[in-house]
Symmetry: C2
Subunit: 508 residues, 2 copies
């Protein structure tokens, strides 16, 4: 299913085998760093910050040296000369190795170091500027950082034969190209404004859903979260659930660490957050076990990763079937009764649409507007067509065009997300690529296995997860994203499927 | 106090500076491994074992490559040629770097790898053999391991100019030599049998102390443990307390991770365990901050480390003064009242002496007998004077000679400790060196600051900890163990001080 065991048939290609050994070490060190990152967010006392920075820097430098070693070019040349002797999984592994190596070696060491320092400085400034609503305070370090990112984009563009923006995008979304993204975003941009009006009108007619009143004890939320995680398929013998300020899915495939945070006044956010991260976790856990610690055993990209979390959270766990299944569990856990706890009310509550300023709080319908705004702006910044001085104004205008809202300040505007302040231009579109991919995969899964909705209504995720494991998780990075999607669903990414999903959920 | 900042005056000695940079990376990677080890014991789900083994192996190999790099010999030669230009702390750092490098490079890579595999195999066999009371089952892998350890001892003996046993000992106890250990253990061996009889007779006269009856809820034990840790000086902004099967002190100096385990029928073991590990933690935390990630900034050795845990646990926290201070806190925490909870009874309970089979359960008086037994046996094994077939018999005879007890089976005999089954010959004597060092340091601290006992009776550890920080913790590895002890206490290790402590505590 997942190809041959590494080292089965690579004996004829010693250069390939040598590359595999190097990448094995590289990936084991990166996994060490992943566990240390989790610890930093979930466990580490504040006094450990400086030591942890040193530990992670030592790992980073060591990993970079493995990829930047002069001998690698020769090994790739030799391995590729003899690549006819490799089976398809090893050939794919070699292709993915080269991709990583090209990204790593496109930048010279001095630029890597300057970028790393500028990122730290800018992120630090942003952590103070955001609560203070002071864009001017972070502007100088953001300017320095953007300057270096644009240099890096040029260098990667040369090495990869792509445009500068696409060269950045390619790191998060292998094979992702802005021309394709423009093409799949365009119908959505045309569709959303009228659709949003219609949804808001329909929800206004129905009246606001009732909100169950807390407090909802943290322990109860956590116990319920764990129960639902297990129902979806999370195995606590191969992972943990803990608390951190910013929820994430970390760790390594056989030891996935997901985190959340609890608000005793509201249980929906943590619960849906936990289910979202469970989708990420199941993808990691389902990656081809024979290819641990090799590039081809990696998740396919950030868009595909997000599709797995949204498939669990949005496509499944906010569906009528799942909420009908979960409602009695919620009532039992929190001792809830009365109209606010009725299934129909909970369905409306879980699917409430309301335009707002903050991306991470956005519902499924308005979320793409937040992404499209950032995608437009970041392309313009990398192209040198939007100066950072113009960013706050352009942001506010853009949000007004897309959602009819103007942020009252930059805290609710261009200071809200860490991405750019941490050097990550080219990441944002993957959120909406993920949402569209999730809709397309879910539709294909239901077409292949029509019993899926009924099973979910009984809390049985086995049919859905079996299909995903086979068609997505176990594929690792064997196929390109387009190939994977075509193999699993019969076509490349098609925004019409996502729009059909939105219409069915919010207007029917 | 702790010397100059690294890089202050090393400009005249570029080879030294280059070594410092390499050791900085080495130590940062080792710190990463230390955090991963803690996680493995305290957090990791079982499914993570294989991945974690790979992560730690990648770090080990990377660290070994840093030390084994051919270029190091030249760097040491150059740095030592110009060592006259180094200030005393850098000179000490260079000395410690060389020590580590000699230990690491004495063994060729194939022996390192064979040892690592044999350790894993033998430890695995031991984990099954111990509960099954089946020494014969672990004998083949222990034989293989001892064979390799003896090869390693020979190789290190050549490189370091020491006897094979001393070459192993030197890794745990830098500068430690069996001739010196024999000399300080001999008076103790003469003293203990009659002394033990006298203590047992005195305690029999007084009748057995009453044992407070539980259950003692885990949460209460933990809260009380944290409170006492803070009283002793532990700072939770720079460390954590968690649970693991085998209590230990791990992590890194500014982020110390200590663990314990709880038994709801008995609060004394966990509480004293936590205070023991707190002593280790305060040593790590107090190491010279200017020399983090350099060998000279390390703890002086395992004997000194154990002295700091025993100074807190045995010298201080089992003292009349501390128990009188802690007794009301215990009564308050557990709602205890009646004769079992009276201070005098608790003092007798905390200082009860009773010969037994198991080292880790032994009291302060009988503990040295367990160590002396193992020290005699392991010297004979390394010298080839005791075959492993003879080990169980020699163990049982030896314990009978020392404590008058004969283990009924190997589970309570030579299978009880992991050390040899994990390849650690040469470690055991450090426990009793630590106990003697603790007594000597505590006596010197009280001579310098006579208010210490009175302060402890009020729960004020500041005078004692201030003295230890200055005289031990902040010294790192600047001095040799003998120099440190002589500077702090006026003389090298003197077993008479430990024996005087035992007499004062158990007979007066």
């Amino acid at each position: 299913m997942t190809g041959l065991q590494p080292a089965d048939n690579a004996a004829d290609n010693p250069a390939y085998s040598a590359l595999e050994a190097r990448f094995r070490r590289l990936y084991a060190l990166r996994e060490a760093a992943a566990v240390l990152h989790w610890d930093m967010s979930a466990m580490m006392p504040t006094g450990g910050a400086e030591a942890r920075t040193e530990q992670l820097a030592a790992l980073d430098v060591t990993c970079h040296e493995i990829l930047a070693d002069q001998a690698m070019a020769g090994m790739f040349a030799e391995a590729e000369d003899e690549s006819g002797r490799l089976d398809p999984w090893r050939a794919a592994n070699l292709r993915e190795m080269r991709r990583e190596w090209l990204h790593a070696t496109a930048l010279d060491a001095s630029l890597v170091e300057a970028l790393s320092r500028a990122c730290k400085r800018c992120e630090f400034a942003w952590r103070e500027a955001r609560p203070a609503n002071d864009f001017a305070a972070v502007l100088p370090s953001l300017k320095e950082l953007l300057g270096l990112v644009r240099q890096a984009a040029e260098a990667k563009a040369d090495a990869l034969g792509l445009s500068p923006y696409d060269a950045l995008l390619d790191e998060y979304e292998p094979g992702g190209r802005s021309e394709r993204i423009d093409a799949v975003f365009a119908p959505l941009e045309g569709f959303l404004p009228n659709f949003l009006d219609a949804v808001l009108a329909k929800q206004a007619d129905a009246g606001a859903p009732l909100v169950p009143q807390g407090p909802f004890p943290r322990e109860t939320q956590e116990a319920l979260g764990r129960r639902l995680m297990e129902i979806v398929g999370f195995d606590f013998a191969s992972g943990r659930l803990d608390v951190s300020l910013h929820p994430f899915c970390g760790g390594v495939p056989d030891d996935v660490r997901i985190t959340t945070r609890y608000d005793e006044a509201d249980f929906i956010t943590a619960l849906m957050g936990v289910l979202h991260e469970t989708g990420h976790a199941l993808y990691e856990r389902g990656l081809p076990a024979d290819w641990r610690l090799q590039p081809v055993g990696n998740a396919r990209g950030m868009g595909m990763h997000e599709s797995q979390s949204l498939l669990v959270e949005m496509q499944t766990c906010r569906s009528r079937e799942f909420i009908a299944f979960a409602a009695p569990l919620l009532r039992e856990a929190f001792g809830g009764s009365g109209p606010a706890w009725e299934t129909e009310n909970l369905i409306r509550l879980y699917n409430k649409v309301e335009p707002g300023f903050i991306r991470v709080d956005a519902d499924e319908v308005t979320y793409p507007a937040h992404v499209i705004l950032r995608y437009r702006l970041e392309k313009a910044m990398i192209a040198g067509e939007l100066s950072l001085e113009e960013l706050p104004g352009a942001w506010n205008e853009g949000l007004h065009d897309l959602l009819g809202l103007t942020p009252p300040d930059d805290r609710l505007g261009c200071l809200q997300d860490i991405h750019w302040y941490d050097g990550a231009w080219g990441y944002f579109p993957t959120y909406t690529l993920g949402a569209m991919t999730a809709a397309q995969l879910f539709a294909a899964a239901k077409a292949a296995l029509p019993e899926i909705p009924e099973a979910i209504a009984k809390g049985d995720f086995a049919p859905l997860m079996g299909w995903l494991k086979q068609n997505v998780h176990e594929q690792g990075s064997f196929l390109t994203t387009d190939e994977l999607l075509t193999q699993a669903t019969g076509k490349a990414l098609d925004p019409a499927i996502f729009m059909a999903h939105l219409k069915a959920r919010y207007l029917d």
